[in-house]
């Protein structure tokens, strides 16, 4: 057990170090001189040198990386070039909005996917199954940045039910959550369907039915209990797509989270903030995956000794 924990944590740590290095290297992918790009060619020589020095760009790449890593350990990601504020401060301001959106989208996805997935599995091969899976294919294919404007057009502009953008009123969250949740719901419905179908073919489900248990009892107490496990692992893996999609969705609805901060910072050439945003989202993703992995290993001993399910 301890071995399993240590090996998972160590590999997560290795990934984190790799992620940090890659994010650090981002700034060196800027074509030409990063200082020129950030300040513009007309900036005063003294300002340029000051920025170069402040960002450590006058040192060797190894000492820059060491500096970045030690800063990170003290929760210091440098300062924004645009707002006179630390990158960490800016991130902390925006994190609640992004988390709120992500959780709302997740909830929305469950509300859509659970009935669809169960219906499709129970009525396999019927028109219900076909309908649910058609919705799923459509949901996977529809991009957020089109679904969002369509929902705005219909519900905000024509019907006037929800605000067009921002985060001021209590109904502001509805459309962004649906926009971000739909794609996830589509994938989730497929997972629930296939996982449930596998379980429904097992002997113990047949036994439960043979005992004369009612269909709802068989479904919830026997089948779903085991169908959940693979679904939950896959949710962990798919959360990354959700977090990535949140960036686009936030821009569509002008939602004041990490995504809009990142895109605004790209436009302002405020690269330390861009690095901070990428780092925050990917570290969150690694953390979620590691926790899912470990939790799964705790529940199912087979995972501890074998590979992934």
């Amino acid at each position: 057990m301890i071995d399993f924990l240590i090996s998972r944590l160590l590999s997560a740590l290795l990934v984190i170090v790799g992620v940090v290095c890659l994010v650090f290297l981002l700034i060196h992918l800027i074509p030409g001189d990063p200082v020129d790009v950030m300040l513009g060619e007309s900036a005063r020589a003294a300002d340029r040198e000051a920025l170069r020095h402040a960002m450590g760009l006058d040192q060797s790449i190894v000492s820059q990386l060491a500096h970045y890593l030690t800063g990170l350990l003290q929760f210091d990601l440098g300062d924004s070039l645009y707002a006179k504020q630390s990158v960490v401060g800016l991130l902390v301001e925006r994190i609640p909005a992004t988390l709120q959106l992500a959780f709302a989208a997740l909830l929305c996805a469950f509300v859509i996917a659970l009935p669809l997935g169960i219906l499709a599995a129970l009525k396999r091969g019927t028109i219900w199954d076909w309908g649910a899976m058609s919705f799923s294919t459509l949901g996977i294919s529809i991009p957020n940045f089109w679904l969002g404007p369509m929902l705005i057009l219909f519900f905000s502009l024509w019907l006037g039910w929800t605000p067009v953008s921002g985060r001021e009123s209590s109904t502001s969250l509805v459309l962004p959550a649906i926009t971000l949740g739909t794609g996830f719901a589509a994938i989730l419905a497929r997972m629930i369907r296939s996982s449930l179908l596998e379980v429904l073919g097992e002997d113990y489900v047949r036994t439960a039915r043979a005992k004369g248990l009612g269909e709802p009892h068989v479904l919830w107490r026997h089948a779903m209990r085991n169908a959940w496990l693979p679904v939950i692992t896959l949710i962990g893996l798919q959360l990354g797509a959700l977090l990535g999609g949140a960036v686009v969705t936030e821009v569509v609805f002008d939602w004041p989270g990490i995504g809009t901060l990142m895109i605004d910072s790209i436009q302002r050439r405020d690269y330390p903030v861009v690095q901070g945003c990428v780092l925050f989202v990917s570290l969150t993703y690694v953390l979620i995956n590691t926790v899912t992995d470990i939790a799964y290993g705790l529940v199912d001993p087979r995972i501890r000794y074998g590979g992934r399910p």
Partner: protein, 270 residues
């Protein structure tokens, strides 16, 4: 059944539009102030945008953009990823360890996030867009190729080839690659769909194709400012893109069923 051919037909139309759209109709970037925000029907089949440019012509130009980017990115990622994945699995040892770590690191970046950051840092434009998306795209193919080779390398015909003294490259390219082709083609079909969305997504964010050139994504973004007056500006590119992506996903499903491949590839880019 006839509808099974529908996805393929849409793909064909997309390719034709990409290759011949330019020569059939011209003036995708031509500003015409007399037609600003004209709705469909009045003299242009799909109406005109906020600068009086014809929407139909811009859709065709956008088809070209998305075709070049999606096919280009998937080709580059497929070659890069397959080579890396096969080499890692076949060579084993420290090289495999190193490459697996590299794959893990790239997998740690959620969906389109790394592509946004890369495109944002490198600057907009077609070349940078293809580079940024390829740097994100190779990982999936590498992981798939590695997994497949790990199980295939134990097969008898590979052992026989080794015993006959075939070189590593011959074994990889002649004896293993053909067996990998089916799952890779299925993955690539879904990959093209993902890249169509990714290209449009980056262009929507202003990080991809730059004005005046057309992309379905930037058409949607520009259209959102005039949604009440001219909903066709958002509807037209969205419906076309949805058709193309849907067809690619259906095609992928059909291929997977026909080639009998069991693995999950649904990863949405945005």
């Amino acid at each position: 059944m006839i509808w099974r051919w529908l996805p393929l037909a849409v793909m064909l139309l997309w390719a034709l539009a990409a290759f011949f759209g330019n020569s059939l109709v011209s003036g995708a970037n031509m500003v015409n102030l007399d037609h600003i925000l004209d709705t469909p029907g009045k003299s242009g089949l799909l109406g005109f945008d906020d600068l009086g440019r014809p929407v139909l012509q811009r859709l065709l130009a956008g088809a070209r953009t998305s075709f070049i980017v999606a096919i280009g990115v998937v080709t580059i990622s497929l070659m890069l990823g397959t080579t890396i994945g096969m080499l890692a699995a076949y060579q084993g040892g420290w090289l495999d360890l190193l490459l697996v770590r590299l794959i893990d690191v790239f997998m740690a970046f959620p969906g389109i996030l790394l592509a946004i950051a890369l495109a944002g840092v490198m600057g907009p434009g077609l070349d940078n867009l293809i580079i940024a998306l390829s740097m994100v795209g190779w990982v999936g193919y590498a992981r798939l190729a590695r997994g497949q080779v790990l199980s295939l390398r134990e097969r008898d015909h590979v052992t026989a080839a080794v015993a006959l003294g075939s070189s590593r490259w011959v074994i990889l390219s002649r004896h293993l690659l053909p067996l990998l082709a089916a799952p890779l083609i299925v993955e690539a079909t879904f990959g093209i769909a993902g890249m169509v969305i990714a290209e449009a997504g980056l262009s929507f964010l202003g990080l991809g194709i730059q004005p005046p050139d057309a992309s379905w994504g930037s058409m949607i973004r520009d259209g959102t400012s005039y949604m009440l007056m001219a909903p066709h500006l958002v509807l037209a590119p969205g419906v076309i893109m949805l058709l193309v992506v849907l067809s690619l996903n259906l095609l992928g499903d059909q291929l997977r069923d026909r080639l009998d491949i069991r693995f999950v590839t649904e990863q949405k880019m945005s």
